[in-house]
Subunit: 415 residues, 2 copies
């Protein structure tokens, strides 16, 4: 089933609110195996609204709209849908009754325009609103269906789950299944090059790659007659991807790297501390976003100045003078100094240049050195980042630290 | 000028990402006095993309698009815009040079599809990308303009501010002037109540309040024939707002609180260190986002466990046992211990419960205690946050720390 999602509301066009209804409905319709071809947003304007609905029905079987069902004059979705689909509004008894009952309960006096909400297309299937006063409806004509729901997300999502989803299930043909594979350490174009023949030859499962702040994701989706078939098809393709780029994969279940690492630390009771410089506390902040992490996370010493590095972590002045503060040697001393103080099983450290300035001869912006003391050994790893900007660099540096920890815990190659 | 905002990307139609580009561009185009009539989203599909652009140009003078400029095969915005507007792609010398230079600097090997990014419509005005590799462009034909920018919000917003906005100003008729007043410590509805008569009576300047993660902003805008008139009208209204809620205002120039504080620290050479617990490094991370802050920021000790608090900051076990770890007394000892170690002029500390769990009798989730050693005195402040969720709480806690520092530097009342 081909669908368009339509949002009605001038406040969206002003940028006053973010259109979360479209995100929600996209996810829901995709889960039913429907294809979402368009998102449209129009203001409270009858002509433009009519034109968009007509256009949507050219390609799509279903237009699912939210907004414009309220009691005020600029709420005109119902009227416009009727005009386009050749129906007219009539009073809907149960909806009027509900309005009256509700008003009596709350001791509200209804104004005349309130009753507008009880007017419904004569051939519509009406959907009650459990979280507000404007009912929604579905109107079917010549194989095309329009569904209209109220705009407030709380009302819309509830109506979708309780009334619209069961209604739409009659149209469901296939089952969709997908997996999202996440990778770190490989750029999107290089990833795509390695998967090109799979991507080019694809019909089902489909393979799509996305870049996301230093990480990549690959989404593998299949639409089949049964859940089993779809799942099998996806798993096979995921295996092929693992064969090619498995070295970079940290999750085949769309988990964040910090969640993957946090889970392993908690499950195995591995205590951890960090010594940060260029990341400025971002590593600790990221790790402590994992619920329950206080069981294993002891401390992070954010040592920005030389003085702090020497006082807090016992880094030697001589080491800084000989190798520069941005060096494997300093990263190593930071990790070791942290371990002596905290005794944590994993002591991870970082020093580097987040930029924009701060480079030195032989030490370009974006260079980071990561140290890690783990099971009696201190590992160091140097990475040259792409240097997009300071924040991107810091974010990438945190991912690189997590990646190193993940590899060490797994006993994998760290390079 | 009538505009349509177009987002290109299958991931939006799958509901994998929220369309924040449309929100941003709506706000920006409205600020220029342009009318946004439509938002459209289409996937990476040539035919549908072409149809939408044609439709948009029926009503609109400007189509402003983001997404689909990348190096991969499904990035086709440029080709489609050319087809609709009757142009063709040619190699754009400076863009190719940039790609090569950038790759050389980072020692990256370019794959063939990378060079696709240097192809531009022959009649286009090309916009450099300061935050990524895909340039954008404007193409004008018969009074209709298409503007294409990359999809990643970080790249798009920067390109908009630096290249597209100046380009669009040629189409601007009225002059719009606005100021954004930022406040901390006052909720949106309470703020709106205090400004209600100003808001209700408004025609020009217009006053709009927005809530944003614990902060509030008030945007005062005026659209006049001359810049002077508009500026004067706005300034008068801002003065009225200052008279009413000046106590909570930290910027009338839309600066972030951390920028305001960072600037003061740098200008006055005030060194600073922090001792964090529930914020987990977020304070340091936030402060170190200020360029050049390494001149004054020494260290942050993120002490998550009791042990770390005692070892790193000299917090007494007795104090924790008597008053609980979430107390003014512990915050005070943290600040004092940090000062003894670092000698920084400002030593700020925090302890508290970010939630969701972790509350104790008399210590509800959302309670934070902030300590600050400054000019020989240790101040403490206890705040009960609204407890929306863990991340909101941590963010709010950082703002509360910055607010306390800002007030102490200014010599203002800290409560």
């Amino acid at each position: 089933m081909k669908c368009a999602i339509l949002s009605v509301g001038t406040e969206i066009l002003f940028g006053q609110i973010t259109n979360t209804n479209s995100v929600y409905l996209s996810q829901q319709l995709n889960l039913l195996g429907f294809d979402v071809l368009y998102h449209y947003t129009v203001g409270d304007n009858d002509e433009r609204l009519a034109e968009i609905i007509k256009l949507a029905f050219k390609d799509c079987d279903l237009v699912i709209a939210s907004g414009g069902l309220g009691p005020t004059e600029d709420d005109m979705t119902k009227e416009t849908v009727c005009k386009v689909m050749g129906d007219h509004l009539v009073e809907h008894g149960p909806s009027k009754e509900f309005l009256l009952k509700n008003a009596a309960k709350l001791n509200h006096k209804l104004t005349e325009n309130n009753f507008k909400q009880a007017m419904m297309p004569s051939q519509a299937t009406v959907f009650d609103n459990d979280a507000g006063t404007a009912p929604g409806f579905a109107l079917e004509k010549d194989g095309k269906t329009a569904i209209c729901m109220p705009g407030p997300p709380r009302e819309m999502t509830r109506m979708y789950q309780r009334r619209v989803k069961p209604y739409l299930e009659q149209f469901q043909k296939d089952v969709i299944y997908y997996k999202t594979v996440r990778l770190f350490g490989k750029g999107e174009s290089s990833l795509e090059t390695e998967l090109l023949d799979l991507i080019d030859g694809q019909t089902d499962p489909t393979i799509a790659t996305y870049a996301k702040e230093g990480e990549c994701t690959v989404r593998v989706a299949s639409k089949r007659a049964t859940a089993e078939e779809a799942e099998q098809a996806v798993s096979k393709t995921v295996e092929l991807i693992e064969q090619r780029v498995g070295e970079y994969i940290y999750s085949i279940d769309d988990e964040e790297l910090v969640q993957v690492v946090g889970k392993k630390l908690l499950e195995r009771g591995i205590t951890i501390s960090s010594a940060e410089s260029c990341t400025g506390g971002m590593f600790a902040e990221t790790l402590t976003s994992v619920p329950g992490i206080s069981e294993v996370f002891d401390r992070s010493l954010v040592t920005y100045t030389y003085k702090a590095k020497m006082e807090e972590l016992g880094v030697k002045r001589e080491t800084i003078d000989t190798y520069s503060v941005y060096s494997k040697e300093v990263a190593e001393e930071m990790a070791l100094g942290l371990w002596k103080k905290s005794g944590s099983k994993i002591c991870i450290s970082i020093t580097g240049i987040a930029g924009p300035g701060g480079d030195m001869p032989g030490k370009p912006v974006g260079l980071i050195d990561i140290g890690c003391h783990f099971r009696g050994q201190t590992y160091v790893k140097e990475v040259q980042m792409r240097n997009v900007n300071r924040n991107w660099n810091r974010h990438y540096a945190v991912l690189a630290m997590l990646d190193l920890i993940n590899r060490l815990i797994d006993g994998r190659n760290i390079n």
